[in-house]
């Protein structure tokens, strides 16, 4: 499933080292042989974890912070979309992801993705609470909730680990998928962003993904 995402550092290391030009060429050939149908020059400039072949955008409908039904496929059609499953009591990885995305978008005034945060903790994350939480980062971020069953269905559709409760009592925590999923305007998931993604990667990839329109690579 994971293509160039993990091969790229090896390739770059070989080219940079270049103690043996022949070896460098061999590695290049191997990489292109393994990358199959994935040959878009635009997609190759992605720095996130590349998904090869690209994945279909998931289809699910949940409820937004205004209480309206939100059809993920319809609302993001032809647009760059980011999808992340988390919860507001999460102190560690959720705020880092969201702050990184918000700050990257400040650097990219021409990129206007639909950023969707789906709670995996509907019991504590009421719509109002979810709205206040997301407003800490960017007022444009969409917050979604639903029944436990609807939320599990959405996570399954997106192909991520379904979240579950850990710990006891009121201060329980949720184990949940740590990666942010990205869908280009062409409707496909070309890459994903695990926790620990660097800010420079976000800024590079958001600009690249925004240019991957329905007609393919630029």
């Amino acid at each position: 499933m994971r293509g160039l995402g993990w091969r790229r550092p090896i390739l770059m290391g070989m080219v940079r080292g270049s103690s043996s030009a022949l070896l460098g060429v061999t590695v290049l050939l191997l990489v292109s042989a393994c990358s199959g149908p994935f040959s878009s020059a635009t997609a190759q400039s992605l720095e996130g974890v590349v998904i090869d072949p690209p994945q279909e955008k998931p289809s699910f409908t949940l409820t937004d912070t205004e209480g309206e039904r939100f059809d993920f496929g319809a609302a993001t059609e032809g647009k760059l979309a980011l999808l992340y499953f988390g919860y507001t009591h999460c102190p560690d990885i959720c705020p880092v992801h969201l702050a990184q995305i918000a700050e990257s978008l400040n650097e990219l005034p021409d990129v206007d993705p639909v950023v969707v945060f789906v709670t995996v903790d509907p019991e504590r994350d009421t719509p109002g609470y979810l709205r206040d939480y997301l407003d800490n980062f960017d007022h444009r971020f969409v917050g979604l909730t639903g029944t436990s069953k609807e939320l599990a269905t959405a996570q399954e559709a997106a192909g991520v680990a379904v979240a579950f409760r850990t710990g006891e009592g009121a201060d329980y925590t949720m184990a949940h998928a740590g990666q942010v999923l990205a869908y280009a305007p062409d409707g496909l998931g070309h890459s994903e962003y695990p926790f620990g993604t660097r800010q420079t990667t976000w800024i590079n990839d958001l600009a690249v993904l925004a240019g991957m329109g329905a007609t393919g690579s630029r």
């Binding site: 507001t88 009591h89 999460c90 102190p91 560690d92 990885i93 705020p95 880092v96 969201l98 702050a99 990184q100 918000a102 700050e103 939480y133 800490n136 980062f137 991520v160 680990a161 379904v162 979240a163 579950f164 850990t166 710990g167 201060d171 925590t173 184990a175 949940h176 998928a177 740590g178 926790f195 620990g196 660097r198 800010q199």
Partner: protein
């Protein structure tokens, strides 16, 4: 040959320094930082260096309760938090996003740039007062190399 002589001198100097520092000093704490709270909980990260000791707890006036936590990846690919009884310092102890952190529960509103007093409790060195700076959550990742 010259290099080998140099290396021997350096190792000798280090051995002397370590010998003198054998009397369990408080660990040296750096980069103490808290991601500005966006929900009810926040995380404190820091780097501690020193001899062997064990971090057994922490308190701060800005949180109702404090826990030692570790974020790990489950076999199914989910990020999960576990509460720990202690964290071992063995030369160094690094608390960073996606790994170890000190969780501040029901934290008071904090603004970026604020300084927060935190008391660390070490098994051997006892209580240690430190100051942590409140930073943008994205900036807690500084130095993350994974």
């Amino acid at each position: 040959m010259k290099h080998r002589v140099m290396a021997t001198v350096v190792v000798g100097a280090m051995a002397v320094a370590c010998g003198e520092a054998a009397a369990t000093p408080a660990p040296e704490v750096s980069a103490a930082r808290i991601g500005a709270p966006t929900g009810p909980n926040a995380a404190l990260y820091l780097t501690a260096t020193g001899g062997a000791d064990v971090l057994v707890g922490a308190t701060t006036p800005v949180a109702d309760a404090v826990g030692l936590h570790e974020t790990t990846m489950t076999s199914a690919g989910a990020m999960s938090m576990t509460e720990l009884d202690s964290m071992d310092l063995d030369g160094s102890l690094v608390l960073e996003p996606g790994g170890l952190h000190i969780m501040l529960l029901d934290v008071q509103p904090l603004r970026m740039g604020d300084t927060v007093e935190v008391t660390l409790r070490w098994d051997t060195a006892g209580e240690q007062e430190i100051e942590a700076t409140v930073v943008d959550p994205a900036d807690t990742v500084e130095g993350l190399t994974r």
